[in-house]
Symmetry: C2
Subunit: 203 residues, 2 copies
């Protein structure tokens, strides 16, 4: 890495790319200043300019993960279209979390990997909790609309439906990461559709 004075943004992008490569290859367990320095061809000393502590590096990596997550492809949400509401929108959001493609599996792998690091630090854990809360709030909105449309059962609150759905897909991603041959994309889809069918309004 050649220091390029005045080009702070470019340097920052290089550092971000190096942190991201370490994350995708080794997970949070392998995220060290030394590993990032290795990716950059820089010294650990230079890196402490950016990350004065392991914690600073962790927080930076979690922010990167959050950005990548926000910008990730959401093929099911896109396929459902901008006008999707209710159950269709909920199902698309849940499908976009599952490990259905190599890319989404890699993304899920990094999220699962981040839990240990986040749980070890109260502030980072609070950040992560807020991220999941936002996701549940969004899903609860879809669930409430689905209830209004008569698509989902009304004997549960939208919040309970969202909490249950988020639990289901997070756990399914964990299972699929450990046993991809037992949980291929088709089976993940089928299990999710079974789960949603059970929440369907039966009148």
């Amino acid at each position: 890495m050649t220091p390029a004075r005045g080009d702070h943004a470019a340097r920052r992008a290089e550092v971000s790319a190096a942190v991201w490569r370490v994350l995708t290859e080794r997970g949070f367990a392998g995220l060290t200043l030394r590993a990032v320095a290795g990716e950059l061809g820089a010294t650990t000393g230079l890196l402490t300019h950016y990350f004065p502590s392991k914690r600073a590096l962790l927080r930076y990596a979690l922010d990167l993960l959050d950005e990548a997550h926000a910008a990730r492809p959401r093929p099911h949400t896109e396929a459902a279209g901008p006008g999707a509401e209710g159950l269709a929108a909920l199902r698309a959001a849940l499908l976009d979390i599952l490990a259905l493609t190599p890319e989404s599996a890699a993304g899920g792998r990094i999220w699962v990997s981040s839990w240990d690091a986040a749980l070890a630090d109260p502030e980072l854990a609070a950040d992560h909790a807020a991220r999941y809360r936002r996701a549940r709030t969004r899903m609860a909105g879809f669930a409430a609309a689905a209830q209004d449309r008569g698509e989902l059962r009304t004997d549960r609150t939208p919040e309970d439906l969202a909490g249950a759905a988020q639990s289901f897909v997070l756990g399914l991603v964990v299972q699929a990461l450990f046993a991809p041959e037992e949980f291929p994309p088709d089976r993940q889809r089928q299990l999710l559709d079974g789960f949603l069918a059970d929440l369907t309004a039966t009148s």
Copy 2:
């Protein structure tokens, strides 16, 4: 730690206790030879006798986790009684996984923490996958019995019911660890019972 020649088993127990303390306090992310040495009041040099590599330490810790898991209290399974079968046995097994007490939350925390470490190493990941497969097989047995007794719907295979149930509780534990105030024990129980009610045979 005073070296006690000839007392290999006692030394091993001391090492195990130190590894376990590090795991419960810092998770797998904090599991280093240095941290274990600190707990023992020993040098890292001495510890390399037991753990020639970080990987050896990780594997040892995963084995300890497995032993602790096998020996853990299972209050719901015990309350259900040795003759419990079918849905009652399945429900008890699932309740015993949830983070319903400080002890079970601490246990869940260590499992979640182990996923990153295990996923980073193909052999350790295969070991973990085998553990979850055994758990699913056991639950599939309960589910099959529940189907025979007319307690669970028969339009899914016992394996699918078990895979769905395991996904649900693993994800719920993750949510409860990050947001214990939103997922107190009563709500975890209620969400699980809602999930199981949806799988109930409706004839």
